[in-house]
Structure formats: C-alpha cells, structure tokens
C-alpha cells in the first residue's frame, strides 16, 4: 500500500520533468540536424558556461577595473579612474610590521591578524586532524561511527557554528559553568581579546577538522597493510614506523590537506564574524571581513579599495592553488608510473 | 535490400592515417567478415559504415543511396557491440524496445516486435531482468535481439563473440550462422579470430594497416593466398614460409632449392622470374609428409602427440624453423633426423615483394 503510494507520488513528481525533457527533444532534434554532434556539445555546455561567464568570469575581469577607480558609486561608469592609487593607499606603510603606522591601518591589522590566524589555525588543525586520522585508522570497533562523529560539525552552517559557540562561551555559558564547578576562574571569553583569538581558532578547528581527518584517513587506508606487517616482522618500533613508513607514504595527501587548509584559512570569515563580529575592537578582524565592510557595510564604503584588497588576497590564493595543482599533477604522474 | 558499397574510404585522426582508401562492394544478403590483426582498421571501417564516425574521404552508399553524410540513426542499420553495450539501467524488454520507442512506433507494435525477437532468440524467460543479472551468453543474445528487433537493412557485428568462453563461442557462432540463413539480411562481421571468419563468411576481407589485402571466399583465400601476409594470417598452425632460391624456371613450373637437399618443382607461371631469384616457398603444416629416404633433411626438436595427429617441430639445416602436422600417431623419436617430403601442387610461391607467383592459367581452371 505504502509502496503503491510512493510509486504514484514518484510518478506524479516525475511526469512534468519527463514531459519537459520530451518537449526539449523536439527543437533539439532540429538543432542536431543543423549542426551535427559538435553543435550539440555547444548546446550542452551553453547554460553552465553562460552562467559561469556572467557570474564568475566577468566579475573576475572587472574586479581589476574596480580596483583602479575611486568613489562610492557602484556602477563602473560612475566611477573615477585613479590608476594604482588604491593599491598605493593599501600599501602605504611606515613600518610593515606595525599596522598602526600604515595609512590603511585597518587593512594591515586584518592582514596581520589573518597571518597569525593562518599559521596557528592551520598548524593546530593539521596536528589534530592527523592524530584523529591515525586513531581512526587503528583497528577500533565501529570505525565508521567514530568517523561520522568527527565529521558532524563539517555540515553545520557557519552561522550555526558561530551561534552555538557564542552561546557556550558567553559569560554565563556552559564553559564558565564547567570551570566554575571545577573551582577555576571564569572569563568573558569573547570580550577579552586574547581569548577571542583562541576561541576563533578553536571554533574553526572544531568546525573543519572532520573534513581533513577524512582525507587523511583515506590516505592512511590506501597504504598497503603488508608494509606494516613487514615492519612488524622486522621488529620496527611504532614511532619509527610512523616516521619512516606512514608519513612518507601519506605525504601527497598531507600536502594537499595543508594547501586546502591554507586556502580556507586565508579566506576565513563567516563563523568568526558570527562568533565575535571581528571584535573585541579589531582583534579578530580578518581580510574577508575587511573587504566586506569596506565594500558594503561601512558608512565610508569604498568599493575600489575593497576590490584592490580582494585582488591582493586573490594573488595569494592563486599561488596556493597553483601549488596544489602542481602537487596533484605530480601525484597523478606518480600514480601513473606505479 | 541491403546492398552496401564503399568507394575509396579514408579516415585519418590528425596526422595518423587509419584507412587508406577502402573499396568494397557488399551484395544483399551476403555475410562478409572483416578480419585482420588488431589495429588494422577493421573496427574503424565498421564504425564508418554504421555512421558512428565519418570518413575523411570516400563515399558510402546503401542500396545505391549516398549515405556518407547521413546520421547513424537514419541509415537503418543495426549493430552488435563487442561489450554488448546493453543499457544497464533498463530491463531486457526496455533494451529491446528503446530503439523502437525512439522512432515512435505504436505501443502494440513495439510489444509484438519485441515478443517476436525474444522468441526467436529464446530470451523470453528473462525479459524483465536487467543486464547485470544475465550471464555472458544471455547478454549476447539480448544484444543480437536488440539488433534483430529493428529489422535493419544490414547487421554490423563488432567482435561479438570475443567476450564469451570457448564453448559458448562455438555454439553462438552456429546460431549466428543459422540466424543469417533465416533472415537472409546482409551481415558485416568484424573479428580477429580466423576460425570464426572461416566458418561464417560468404566472403572474407583480410585487412592490414588500413588496406585490404585480399577479398574472396574462405577456401579461395586458404588455397590461394595473394601474398605473404594473407598466407601467414590464415590457417592454423601457420603456413611454413621457407626462404629459398630459384634454380630453374621452366614453362609450367619453377624449381626451387634450399638447404638439406630441398629441391622441388612448383607448378606456377614463372614467366616473370629467373633462376637465382630469391623467393619464399609456402607449405602448410598439413601438407608436409614424413619420409624415410626422400625430401628435405631436418632436425626434429619437439614432437607433440595430440592423438589424431602429431605435431612435429623441426629445424632445417640453415636453422629455419618448420612445423609439420602428421596424421596418426606414428611412433617417432622426439629428436633426431627426419626427412620431409612435399607435393609440388600444394605449395605456394611468393616473389621477393611477397606477392603470390601467378598460378598456371590452364591447370587452375
């Protein structure tokens, strides 16, 4: 009975789609006759590539024009051409190590914050993911369950992640309650600037480690078991097995994971924005938030400056991505040789 | 009607020329087998006929109509693929009906056509199964059924038996022969297996490196290979090809001599040859006979007793290897010396270009 119902519901839902597809077939037949199969390739590519061109390629190109203009108007035609002035403004610094000596001190604050965040977060993220992957690779009962446990936060939206942790880290939150019960000092975690940074790092690791664990675990499981058995026969101590067998064989995956983590960390925005709003002060302000606020949110908005900043960030990402592709290609070649 | 004509068909992929001008006339109802080593272009030629690929030169016509630019669907042909290419997500019934649905036949007609094809190929029992649930032989039948149901002008079969095991291959081969007899539709069959080719073909097309080497009835090709390639390609075990020198050219024969006392007169038209020319003497393993005192002395290296016949591997005095298939189980030493005799009329002679030395006009008739 239920199955019958399901069948009818399925048929009812599928019918319009099938009619649509049949309808599409009629003009397409004519098109195919006129252009041959090569023309059909154009037809199949067209929708994706049109959307792609309008919403990716065109913005990519005109971003450079934006970065060369000034004013707060959004239409390119209404904007004044200023050449490289925006870049000069961003890069105008007395001392690059001291954001407050720069003309755009907020930008440099965001850059130095992001730099510190990237170094700390990526290092900790890789270590935590690696340990978790190694543990999941052991012969434990219910491995797929445990793998799922660590994966759960990956699916949560950044807004949800930010709010969950805001709720836990607030003055009367769960963390302070636990510390209080243990007789330890409580803090206003998101209001104090040192702990706000730690919170941003910890929360982003919490949210993303499952993804990297999964890739590393896949790499670990691809290492042939008999290598470990051979090492065991040789009486190799476990630490040596890790450094001499596991790590070298995992290296391709590890490199990919590091680059991916770097690419993501450079663009960090949503969960930290919801968690701290960039505060306290500017202590968790990162580049993407800077671009967003200069481009859209602040009263003194300056799209040209935001575009210039985004191009500078994009340059870093391009380098990282090229490194990633290079590694990928090398792995592929290696795979082909083996 | 299924008369197909190919005129100067060429196909190249970039700089790589795969077909160098193929001319072939296929009569209605004929069973033509394209055979050749892998990479010879036979599958490409079949795809060109099917319309799945278009030639870079030449003309294809079916029943006198030029179809070179016509799409695969509109040529009215059906094809059986090497991998069967059954749609894995459809049942056998849907597989058979798919092509008929595409030409908008009424439902009732589709049903009766599929039922008829299913009965003919004895696949009614699993009409509602998916290809994944079928054995190789069953898949093969469905693949043929899918071709039959369309009632095509001609069938194109691309190595249809190569994925079957030896036993099934023999029985399916017989069924394909029976099917051809029953439908009397043109069939073009590609294979690299010469036994399939010998047993099925009305006409036999041997190809190599994008060219046709010889066309003819199977036994004609076996008895009168036009060149060294065809001679070596057809027949198992392979024909022995012995490098020799002509010692004498007479009116109705050419005498060749070689090491080990080889001296034999071959009844061919040697008018283009002269004494001292290097030629190749071809002798099929079955045409060699063991002899006590006459013939060519050889050194036996291995004797394989198969029961009804005995295979003898031997080397001539200058090291050229020979294989002989002797009937019966004659007790022969596994090594040592032996003499092979041969009958001049069963020998083949090829000139230094590898072309067959013409047979005598009168004796051949």
């Amino acid at each position: 009975m239920i199955n019958r119902l399901k069948h009818w519901i399925g048929a009812a839902l599928a019918a319009p789609v099938i009619w649509l597809a049949m309808l599409a077939n009629v003009p397409l037949k004519a098109w195919q006759k006129a252009t041959g199969t090569g023309g059909m390739a154009v037809f199949f590519l067209a929708p994706n590539m049109a959307i792609f061109a309008v919403f990716v390629l065109v913005p990519f190109v005109i971003n450079f024009f934006y970065s060369a203009t000034s004013g707060s108007a959004f239409f390119l035609a209404d904007r004044n051409f200023v050449g490289t002035e925006q870049y000069a403004r961003l890069l105008d610094c007395g001392n690059y190590l001291d954001p407050s000596s720069c003309r755009e001190d907020l930008f440099w604050k965001a850059v130095s914050n992001t730099g510190l965040f990237v170094v700390v977060q990526v290092t900790a993220l890789i270590v935590v993911s690696m340990i978790t992957a190694l543990i999941l690779n052991r012969e434990i009962a219910g491995r797929s369950f445990w793998r799922a446990v660590f994966f759960f936060p990956v699916l949560l939206s950044p807004v949800v992640v930010g709010l969950i942790w805001r709720w836990i880290l607030q003055r009367q939150g769960l963390l302070n309650f636990i510390l209080y019960e243990m007789g330890l000092d409580t803090h206003d975690w998101l209001i104090e600037s040192s702990s706000a940074f730690t919170a941003a790092v910890a929360v982003s690791i919490w949210a993303h480690m499952g993804f990297y664990t999964l890739i590393l675990l896949a790499g670990l499981q691809a290492i042939p078991r008999d290598l470990y058995e051979a090492a065991e026969m040789d009486g190799t101590p476990p630490s040596r097995v890790f450094w001499r067998i596991t790590l070298p064989l995992l290296m391709p995956n590890l490199l990919v994971v590091v680059i991916l983590a770097l690419i993501r960390a450079v663009q960090i925005f949503d969960e930290v924005y919801v968690l701290t709003g960039g505060g306290p002060g500017t202590s968790t302000l990162y580049i993407t938030q800077y671009i967003y606020e200069v481009g859209f949110a602040s009263l003194l908005r300056n799209p040209g400056l935001a575009a210039a900043a985004s191009i500078l960030m994009g340059a870093v990402l391009v380098v990282l991505t090229l490194v990633q592709l290079q590694i990928g290609r090398r792995n592929e070649r290696k795979g082909a040789r083996e | 009607m299924g008369q197909i004509s190919l005129q100067g068909i060429q196909r190249s992929y970039g700089a790589l020329k795969v077909l160098h001008g193929i001319d072939l006339e296929i009569a209605d109802g004929e069973f033509v087998v394209l055979v050749g080593p892998s990479g010879c272009g036979k599958s490409t030629l079949l795809r060109l006929i099917a319309g799945l690929d278009s030639p870079t030169g030449g003309r294809i016509s079916i029943n006198g109509t030029d179809v070179t630019k016509v799409s695969a669907a509109a040529r009215g042909l059906a094809m059986v693929f090497q991998s069967y290419a059954l749609y894995p997500h459809m049942t056998v019934r849907q597989n058979l009906a798919f092509g008929l649905e595409n030409i908008r036949l009424p439902k009732a007609e589709i049903e009766s056509l599929t039922a008829e094809a299913a009965r003919m190929l004895e696949i009614e029992a699993y009409l509602d199964r998916r290809p994944g649930q079928l054995s190789g032989g069953q898949k093969q039948r469905v693949a043929i059924g899918r071709a039959v149901v369309r009632n095509p002008t001609a069938f194109l079969l691309d190595e249809p038996l190569s994925n079957l095991d030896a036993e099934l291959r023999i029985s399916t081969r017989a069924e394909i022969a029976a099917l051809h007899k029953r439908l009397a539709t043109t069939m073009i069959y590609v294979t690299h297996d010469q036994i399939e080719a010998m047993t099925l073909a009305d006409r036999f097309v041997v190809m190599r490196s994008g060219k046709i080497e010889q066309v003819g009835k199977p036994l004609d090709l076996y008895n009168h290979p036009a060149n060294l390639f065809v001679a070596g390609f057809i027949g198992a075990p392979r024909m022995n090809l012995i490098e020799t020198v002509i010692s004498e050219v007479a009116a109705h024969s050419v005498t060749v001599t070689g090491p080990g006392g080889l001296a034999v007169a071959v009844p061919v038209d040697g008018s283009a040859l002269k004494a001292g020319d290097r030629v190749t003497l071809g002798v099929r393993p079955h045409d060699l006979a063991a002899s006590e005192d006459k013939g060519m002395a050889v050194n036996v290296s291995l004797v394989e007793a198969l029961g009804p016949e005995t295979v003898v591997h031997a080397a001539m005095a200058d090291g050229q290897k020979l294989v002989a298939v002797l009937s019966g189980q004659g007790a022969r030493s596994s090594s040592g010396n032996l003499r092979f005799s041969m009958e001049g009329a069963k020998l083949h002679l090829f000139d230094s270009q590898g072309q067959r030395v013409p047979d005598l006009q009168d004796s051949n008739r």
Partner: protein, 350 residues
C-alpha cells in the same frame, strides 16, 4: 552485557592493553563529547524560558514554572513556595506583583489575598519545554518567511546545479570538440576565484542584470559550480562510449542519450552532488548577506545573524531558530552521512 563490553574494548590482535589504546579511547570519547555536546547543549537550552536562560549556574534540563488554574482568574497563575512569617511554608499562586511585593492567593482558598515579599518565595518548577521559543518567532517574527526563502533557494539552486553541471559534464566527457581543453582549463581556473575575491564586482554584475535584492540573485551566481562539473565529468568518463553508440544506432537523439542513458547511469554521482549542493546552499551566508537588503527576502542564515547581532539579543528565540536551521543538516547527516564521506574521500571536494 559483557559481550558488549568486550566488543567495545576489542583491540589490536587481542593483546593486553597498551597505553595507545587508552589514548585512543580517551580521544574518541572526548571527541564524541566535544563534537556533539555543543549542539546538544544548544538544543537543550532552546527549550528554556528566558528567565531560566539568565540563571547561573544553568540547569541541564529545561524547566517551566508550575501553573495552576484558580477559580475567578482567567489565566493560569504561577505557583510559588512561600516561606511564611511564622516559619511554615505554603504553596501560593501569584495574582499580581507590585515592586517587591507580590499579591498571592492559596489555590485552595482563592478568596484571601496574601501580600508576600518576593525574596521570601521560590517558584515551583516542573520539567517542561518552553515551546513558545519556537512558535513565537515563526508566527510573529519573520522566521517562517526566512525558512521559506531558505528552502526555495536551496531547492532551486540544487535543481539548476544538477541540470547545468550534468549537461556541461556530458559535453566535456563524451564529445571531442575544438576548445574542450580550454574550457576545462577555465573551469579549473575558477577554483582560484572564490566568492570573497570577486565580492565587489559580482555585486555590481548582479545589480546590473537586475537581480539585486532578489532570491535569484543569490541562486544564479552559485549554480555553475566547477566542483560539480568535475565530479560528474569524472564519473561520466567511466560510462562506456559503446553505450552511447548503441543508443545512436537505436535512433536516439543526443538529448535522449543525455537524458535517458547518461543521466540515469550517473545517478550515484548526481546524488552526491545533490546532497552537497543542498548543504552548500542551505549554509550560504556571505553572499546572501551582501545581496539581500529587504528583510522579507532574508534566508535563515542571514536572519539569524541579524537577530543575533541586535543589541538586546533575545537568546531564547535565537537558540530555537538556530536549532531549526540545524535540523535539515542534521537529517542529512543522520541519513546520508555515508554518501558524503565516501564522496569526499573519493574526490576531495567540500
């Protein structure tokens, strides 16, 4: 029971406990608590009343004030345990409160009004869910609208993504045409251009094509995903070309080949992409934040952020709406987790 215990503690080769086994289980159990704990705590909190949320230390379970219906009063009254002047304790219901003095009555004797200092009483509580945390924002605030917007955006974007990406993947995997490698290269190139890099120009493009402040403005820029095209192309490359040739011999047009042969056979990859797309679009935040300015077009993520950013945060509503936002993703996790993890392990996309 001992069987369960021995199953759970089964270790490498059945040897004795090794210190690494202890580390393993501490890590796993700790992980379980840290990964699920916050979401569970959030969910438990979302059923607490505002008064209870303000308490420190917090209770784990949600409680509500016990209420009684008293004759002569239309609404149910809150029940309190009161310490009387004579040292006895009584359970009284509050009629009204003026400053620090509450007028209370005994439910058994509704005629007599007793004035009590509020310091002398504690509320009577029972286990209960403050479901109004969910009902009120959905009914009175705009959250039902946000929910509808999110659902619309997610489904529309996913359907368009599946259709356009699969068509492009079909062309890129099954046809040879001049410029194919160039197209592939361009698509790879986009992996380098994440949204945050083209925020400003994309905003102006969306404005120029008239999609500003429209749900289509957040749908269309996201649908031509390079990862989707790649995932599907890789999968379609494994579909044998002979099948397509067979369909061509069977009089199928190229569209029919795509629709009736290739799409059904690519179903596993389409399913993976569909799940990913649903999660991606449901979770999108930055782009909707930029494009949507009219409140009635907000998606759940933007709406939540806006409410959570107000000066006077109404946490009881925020928590409940966060749970609502989390539900689809939790469902995806529970039922489709295997699909996703194998999809990631196989292709490295996120």
């Amino acid at each position: 029971m001992s069987g369960v215990a021995s199953f759970l503690t089964r270790r490498r080769g059945g040897k004795a406990w090794h210190w690494t086994d202890i580390v393993t289980w501490v890590w796993l159990i700790g992980g379980l608590v840290i990964m699920f704990g916050p979401a569970i705590w959030l969910t438990a909190s979302s059923f607490k009343s505002p008064a209870q949320l303000a308490e420190f230390p917090p209770t784990v379970l949600p409680y509500v004030n016990k209420q009684v219906t008293v004759e002569g009063h239309e609404k149910p009254l809150n029940l309190f345990t009161v310490k009387m002047a004579d040292g006895t304790t009584r359970q009284l219901a509050e009629v009204r409160r003026i400053g620090i003095v509450a007028q209370m009555i005994d439910p058994a004797n509704p005629g007599e009004v007793i004035k009590i200092n509020i310091a002398e009483r504690v509320p009577v509580r029972e286990l209960g869910l403050a479901t109004e945390n969910y009902v009120t924002p959905l009914q009175q605030n705009d959250f039902l609208l946000y929910l509808r917007n999110s659902v619309f955006v997610t489904f529309a974007a996913t359907i368009i993504t599946l259709l356009t990406n699969s068509m492009a993947a079909f062309a890129l995997s099954k046809y040879k045409f001049p410029g194919r490698d160039l197209v592939l290269l361009i698509i790879v190139g986009t992996l380098m251009v994440p949204l945050s890099v083209v925020l400003v120009p994309l905003y102006s493009v969306v404005n120029a094509v008239g999609l500003f402040d429209s749900l289509w403005g957040i749908i269309l820029p996201t649908v031509a995903t390079p990862t989707g095209v790649f995932l599907l192309r890789q999968y379609m490359l494994t579909i044998p070309d002979e099948l397509l040739d067979a369909a061509r011999m069977d009089n199928a047009t190229e569209w029919q080949i795509y629709w009736r042969i290739v799409l059904p056979l690519a179903a596993p990859a389409l399913a993976v992409l569909a799940i990913f797309s649903v999660v991606w679009r449901w979770n999108d935040f930055l782009w909707p934040l930029v494009v949507l300015s009219r409140k009635e077009l907000y998606t759940l993520q933007v709406g939540l952020n806006t409410y959570a950013g107000e000066l006077n945060v109404q946490w009881h509503y925020i928590l409940a709406m966060t749970v609502v936002t989390m539900i689809p993703v939790v469902l995806v996790f529970v039922f489709l987790q295997k699909f996703i993890t194998s999809g990631i392990a196989g292709s490295g996309l996120k």
